[in-house]
């Protein structure tokens, strides 16, 4: 029947114009690709529900399902929905089958496909064909594809509320299963038994049922009670008026408790996330608030780390006439080193800022890129080796003294970084909503006009560089405190790019965006370590998905979101603002 519809469609419009054909082809290519890089084979034994479902085969189904689901997202008539959804699955399945058949034919003709594509193993082909071999497997793949397409259509037709509940429950299930290692540790930390929930990395059947029931139950309860607001209000002493405070309090408790629930590895990752929050907030002032594209931001990270490391280091190979260290035995207390570091970073921010004051946009980006490299080359140079240790860097930085606590413990350091990150959030928020923040915003929008309205562009550019440097160098200072070393290898161009990515991904100019951006960009790859060599594949796919689905960033700045929304309105409603404008007298 489906083959029939395809032929009919071909008669009318040609194959690639059949709705769903292109999407199906992409789905097929994605499945084949994941097979050829070895991902499907690697996950074929990774249980989601132990003894029942493994991640490898599930991945194939999910891909067919989601591509079909995406293909029917546009409004279309009843029949077309079914046809499109099923076409996607069928085409995807057929394409995968064709790939398997071609490999089979190639092998029997004596070509050693595996010489080049080492991942095209018998196991992979077995998983891909669901154990039926290439020919019967193709039929199965096509049928399963069609089934997934049908399933996608059926879920699209569910009531939106119910659909959302189903999706969120299934997502919770997937996260629960894939993050088994992490959650086990967390539950152990809370001394909650996990044997009933997890068995050999996968969920148990009982665990699955409980998670699904809990996820749907909580969701329905929260919906009926009017959302998170009601949950918070159900706490003793909470009223509508102090609701924000109650929510902040809850978040604070969660942040405080976190290191003791997760293990030291996760605490360490959270510390790194905190460093990137500091860097991101600093860069957000320069790029997001003031609109100055700085590609050499790593310079301030390096300055912060090096100055702090030199001040607090015991390293004996550094020369004695170092102006920052009178003798090799003395070192400065970290808390005294911090203000000195900030002072020096601000000075360097001004020095770097001054020559680029007249540059804009692309030119500014290129020159700052150069400055970042200059800093990196300087710290590796022989010339400064007696002061900065050359390639070896500055080692043996003293641990942060803090009421006698062991600040080498990532869990203790986490609190210090958290405190500084919160302080940086506070500074950013206050600056943004002030005369200074407005001047920056005006400058970002239109430098000439800002100048014409009385904003001294030179002053506010320097101010942005200085504030960005002051916050960013704190990230460097804690880097040195965390690893007790500042070495040139840690301050490459990639850091500048990563920090910029944090800012863009979170939403340029948005303060919560920086926090979420850091969690996704820095935290996620660490938590994906379980996926070994495929970690960057998954990470890349997630980033692409975010940028396609939310080009304005994860938590966009209010203004920017309004702007994007406005564009949609203008495009969507023909006789809206446009006709109003013409009534106003556009000639």
């Amino acid at each position: 029947m489906t083959a029939d519809t395809i032929t009919k469609a071909r008669g009318r419009r040609g194959l690639s114009e059949t709705p769903g054909f292109n999407t199906g082809a992409v789905a097929g290519i994605v499945v084949v690709y994941l097979g050829m890089v070895g991902m499907i084979e690697a996950f074929s034994d990774r249980p989601i529900i132990t003894d029942y479902i493994n991640f490898g085969p599930l991945l194939i189904l999910l891909i067919f399902y989601f591509f079909a689901y995406a293909a029917i997202g546009r409004p279309m008539n009843e029949g077309a929905v079914f046809q499109t959804g099923i076409t996607v699955g069928v085409v995807g399945g057929l394409l995968t089958g064709v790939f398997l058949i071609l490999v089979e034919i190639g092998e029997s003709a004596g070509y050693q496909v595996r010489d080049v594509f080492i991942s095209i193993s018998p196991t992979m082909r077995d998983v891909l064909s669901f154990g039926f071999g290439p020919y019967v497997g193709t039929v199965w793949l096509t049928a399963i594809g069609a089934l997934m397409g049908l399933l996608a259509v059926l879920t699209r037709r569910l009531q939106p509320e119910l659909r959302a509940a189903v999706f969120s429950a299934l997502s919770v299930l997937m996260i629960g299963a894939l993050g088994a290692t992490l959650f086990r540790v967390m539950l152990d930390g809370l001394s909650i038994p996990t044997r009933w929930l997890y068995r050999s990395d996968g969920l148990t059947l009982i665990g699955t049922v409980v998670i699904l029931a809990l996820a749907i139950g909580i969701r329905l309860y929260v919906r009926r009670q009017g959302g998170a607001r009601m949950v918070a209000l159900s706490l003793p002493g909470a009223t509508d008026r102090n609701l924000p405070r109650v929510l902040i309090g809850l978040i604070a408790i969660a942040l405080m408790a976190l290191p003791w629930i997760v293990n030291t590895f996760v605490s360490d990752v959270l510390g790194t996330v905190g460093l990137y929050i500091l860097l991101g907030l600093g860069l957000n002032i320069v790029v997001g608030f003031a609109g100055l594209l700085d590609l050499g931001y790593v310079a301030f990270y390096a300055v912060g780390a090096y100055v702090t490391a030199i001040l607090t280091s015991h390293a004996s190979y550094l020369v004695t006439d170092n102006p920052l260290r009178p003798s090799p035995d003395t070192f400065t207390n970290f808390w005294i080193a911090i203000p000195i570091t900030v002072f020096i970073a601000v000075a360097i921010g001004l020095i770097i800022g001054a020559p680029v004051l007249r540059l804009r946009g692309d030119y500014l980006a290129i020159v700052t890129l150069g400055f970042g490299e200059i800093i990196r080359i300087l710290v590796t140079s022989d010339w400064l080796k007696p002061y900065l240790g050359g390639p070896q860097g500055v080692t043996d930085a003293e641990r942060v003294p803090f009421f006698g606590l062991n600040t080498r413990d990532p869990r203790i350091l986490y609190y210090l970084i958290l405190a500084f990150a919160l302080f940086a959030v506070f500074i950013s928020m206050r600056l943004k909503d002030s005369r200074v923040g407005r001047a920056w915003a005006a400058m970002r929008e239109d430098e000439d006009i800002a100048e014409g309205m009385g904003v001294s562009v030179i002053k506010y550019k320097l101010l942005a560089f200085a504030m960005g440097a002051a916050i960013g160098c704190l990230g460097g200072a804690f880097f040195a405190a965390k690893l007790s070393v500042a070495n040139p290898g840690s301050f490459t161009l990639l850091v500048s790019i990563n920090v910029l990515a944090v800012v863009v991904l979170g939403g340029i100019g948005s303060i919560p965006g920086v926090v979420v951006g850091s969690l996704v960009l820095v935290g996620l790859p660490e938590l994906l370590r379980e996926f070994g060599e495929f970690r960057l594949h998954i990470y890349g796919a997630i980033i692409i998905a975010i940028m396609v689905l939310r080009p304005e960033g994860l938590i966009p700045d209010k203004r920017r979101a309004m702007e994007l929304h406005a564009i949609e309105v203008h495009e969507g409603a023909g006789p809206g603002p446009l006709s109003a404008a013409s009534a106003e007298g556009v000639q």
Partner: protein, 265 residues
């Protein structure tokens, strides 16, 4: 009476083009001066020189007793000069109110320290900034004030022009330079604009210099008209005097046509 703004022998060249050539120009307190001339006559260049966006090659410029040649635009704004732009240039991703609040920048002080500590003084200053900004928006009756929280880019075209004027008003100027404020407005809008420009002088006490191609607008509002062509001042006087000036008619219509026709009015 001493002039509020006085330009003597001001010139500006761009490569081989003499954009403004030894222009003498002045504006008195409470006066509305219209600047006319065909496209490329150097009107906007003159504005850019006066407001500090260009530095003149030659000539002296005195504003309110200060020598202003070579000063940056932000310094001139502080001295009491404000302008609008031929192509509307608002801070599009900021709200209507914020646009006007930026205008108050040069009249206020608080910096990073004030922003971080948010002392009583900063808070009071912020309130005053918003108050002043709303006053400027209120000048255009109900066109801008009710929309103070929408984005500047969402305003209708004529309102965008109005917001430019309101933003300039928020700088509390003595002299306002309007670059083609009536462009793209329909006759009813122009009527209103003419009254508003008059009110800017009478109620706010501004001196106004305006560039305009729309002759009825120039005719109704200007106390004095200056005509430029190829960077040279070719005529000055009342609208009647300038519009009947042979050189002006030639500049607009070409020599041959000028012999039979008058300047459109």
């Amino acid at each position: 009476m001493s002039h509020l703004l006085e330009l003597t022998g001001v010139s500006k060249r761009f490569g081989g083009l003499q954009a403004v050539n030894e222009v003498d120009f002045h504006a008195d307190p409470g006066e509305i001066v219209g600047v006319i001339g065909p496209n490329g006559a150097g009107k906007t260049t003159l504005f850019n020189i006066v407001t500090g966006f260009y530095t003149p090659d030659e000539g002296t410029m005195i504003f309110d007793g200060h020598n202003i040649a070579g000063l940056k635009p932000n310094a001139l704004t502080r001295l009491g000069m404000a302008r609008t732009f031929q192509s509307v240039r608002l801070f599009n991703a900021m709200t209507v109110l914020e646009n006007a609040m930026v205008g108050q920048h040069s009249r206020t002080k608080s910096g990073v320290w004030g922003a971080l500590t948010r002392t009583g003084r900063t808070v009071r200053e912020e309130d005053r900034i918003a108050e002043k900004a709303r006053e400027s928006l209120a000048f255009f009756d109900d066109r801008l004030l009710p929309r103070q929280d929408s984005l500047a880019s969402d305003l209708a075209y004529a309102d965008r022009r109005r917001l430019e004027i309101a933003r300039a008003m928020a700088t509390e100027p003595k002299l306002m330079l309007l670059d083609e404020p009536a462009a793209g407005m329909n006759p009813a809008e122009k009527e209103k604009l003419i009254r508003q420009i008059g009110r800017l002088r009478d109620e706010q006490g501004y001196s106004i210099i305006l560039i305009e191609h729309d002759m009825p607008v120039i005719k109704s509002v200007s106390d004095r008209v200056v005509a430029l062509d190829h960077g040279i001042k070719i005529a000055e006087g009342t609208y009647q005097e300038v519009s009947s000036n042979q050189q002006v008619i030639e500049a607009y219509l070409g020599k041959a046509a000028a012999e039979q026709q008058e300047l459109p009015s």
